[in-house]
Assembly symmetry: C2
Homo-oligomer: 356 residues x 2
């Protein structure tokens, strides 16, 4: 059978600790040659006459020890708008029912069969959070008790979960330009995490005594500047623009998820994206990522994590990889099936007798 799951089903079984553990093992396997990744590629094309763009994105991964392979894809309509003086890239829910299109297809490396197909949203959220969680494990102060989250969306929630999974957090402050959004985030995450979560009216208010500052936005302009920094704090980011180059360079220790991980972008009609114009799609030329350690080096001990309480550290988690979906998707599949969740479809629909 090939299983179909919903994001809500996967959310009901998958914990942030599961995801961090799966990535921890998986990255070590990748370093040891037991896993493989094919980097993200996008084909971008005009979608409408309103400046929106169609993007077909895909990335693949294989994890031999668990016997899973996956393809993650997005079929997106993308627009840009100005919010609070900053340009945001936003996916437009243009599919029927005002929905987004992102999928994970999970396969067995033992017999090739398609095991499951599910929307990518929940796993996408968890793998991003879990990756930053591994950064926190090695780079944040062991006694970190307070955190700031910049952003109030789907990804911001995962950052809060990851921080709490790795450190004894008592209080989180959340800033987002929308008062309604930050208030809702604080209420929802307090209930989910069982700790104090407060909305903050400015970035400065959110970060004022935070030990960990996690950005989780769609901003194409810097949010954390050099002037925002304090000793002992760990900064983390999920987009290249979020932490200003001067702030990254001021850190005593900066670690990047993966070097040389820029996506391959193919264009029709010579289409130009807002992030191309701003130079914000790729890491800043003012930041020398090649001088930084990669996450896997922290895990395998070939690079050192935090050594003193005073260090300013940062973890730059740009451009995830398909391999993360293989790792987290495999665990999600197993837990969802163990809980009896999902709808089954005939595997014959997704296989064939003909040698192609």
């Amino acid at each position: 059978m090939t299983w179909i799951f919903t994001n809500a089903e996967l959310d009901s079984v998958l914990t942030m600790k599961d995801c961090i553990a799966a990535l921890d093992t998986g990255y070590r396997d990748l370093a040891a040659g037991r896993g493989g990744n094919r980097g993200r590629a996008e084909i971008v094309s005009p979608a409408g006459t309103d400046g929106t763009v169609y993007a077909l994105k895909s990335m693949d991964g294989v994890h031999s020890p668990s016997g899973y392979a996956s393809i993650r894809l997005n079929s997106d309509i993308i627009g840009w708008r100005e919010v609070a003086g900053s340009t945001r890239r936003e996916k437009v829910p243009a599919a029927p029912g005002n929905r987004y299109v992102g999928l994970v297809l999970l396969f067995s490396t033992v017999n090739g069969e398609p095991l499951a197909i599910f929307p990518d949203g929940l796993v996408q959220r968890m793998r991003v959070g879990a990756t930053n969680g591994l950064g926190i494990r090695y780079l944040a102060r062991a006694d970190a008790g307070t955190a700031a989250i910049i952003g109030s969306g789907w990804q911001a929630g995962a950052q809060a979960m990851a921080i709490c999974a790795e450190r004894p957090i008592r209080r989180i402050r959340c800033f987002s330009p929308s008062k309604a959004n930050r208030t809702a985030f604080a209420r929802d995450m307090a209930a989910r995490l069982g700790i104090d979560v407060e909305p903050a009216s400015s970035i400065e208010d959110a970060i004022r005594d935070a030990d960990i500052v996690a950005c989780a936005t769609n901003a194409l302009d810097p949010i954390i500047g050099h002037n925002h920094m304090r000793k002992g704090v760990h900064y983390s980011s999920i987009k290249p623009a979020e932490i200003a180059p001067e702030a990254i360079n001021a850190c005593d220790r900066a670690v990047v998820h993966l070097q040389d991980n820029a996506p391959l972008v193919v264009r029709t009609h010579g289409v130009v994206l807002a992030e191309d114009r701003k130079g914000a799609h790729a890491p800043s030329a003012k930041v020398d990522e090649s001088a930084m350690a990669e996450l896997t080096e922290l895990l395998t001990g070939t690079a050192k994590g935090r050594e003193t309480a005073e260090e300013m550290t940062c973890f730059l988690n740009y451009s995830g990889i398909g391999y993360q979906f293989t790792l987290v998707g495999g665990v999600a599949f197993e837990k969802a099936r163990a809980a009896g969740l999902g709808r089954e479809l005939p595997t014959e629909w997704f296989t064939q007798l003909e040698h192609p």
Copy 2:
């Protein structure tokens, strides 16, 4: 709704002429920047202890004028065996029911929605044949009346269909090492094409008076050597090894599907494939593809096709592209729906409310 089709359903509506027309338009659009392609990538990994390999393969394409985008993927178990002194790469039907795993996912570039999911076999067959068909259009003699097919599999049938779609063919001779296979091929294709199709007991017998010689094999060793060549004949190939380098170099005019189209191969466990050992995965270093015209140049008139009846020509159609699945898959989808074929699944299963 998201539609599910079978290979048999698509085969009942899709003609070779449809496919050649779709590629003809599509390649011109690609040259004009109205289409986009992301090249083939494979992650290869050990599958079992018997030397078989697991391969996850994917390729993507977007065709703006028709509003289709697609991802084509394979989740294969691959083995190698010796047949008649030649090494063959063979997919193992290891999925439940002894089936192969290859899929096309078709999307709309207008709203991103998943329009259809179907096995890749029929479209794979037709797009390969149709591509060689375009080569025949420009490179074979206009009065070509006889053809040889080397191979008797799924792809060999498509080559026969493409040759007959482009030239007034009266007779085809087919050689395959298996007498049963070549006999069955001759019987089936004679019925399908309404012409004389004969099994031949050797390559020499098959090609002796053929105006077009089409190879459609999984061989990793040369089939057509310099000694097999005659003036005026058009040779075509779907794998790098099929026509020996000396034979290609002896042609008066050699055209390649696309230059610089080698797949990206990622390996776990340092796995080595038989084609790596033989150097047969990539085009031979003895052949200078960079000096050849590409198919699109024939279509747009920037390169010339056959100019005299005496020329020996060849068309090398190695490593297809995802974009072909977008073009042929789009036509297949439209014709299958117009005929009322397919099973519908809720699009909600393949979309989401969450911004991923």
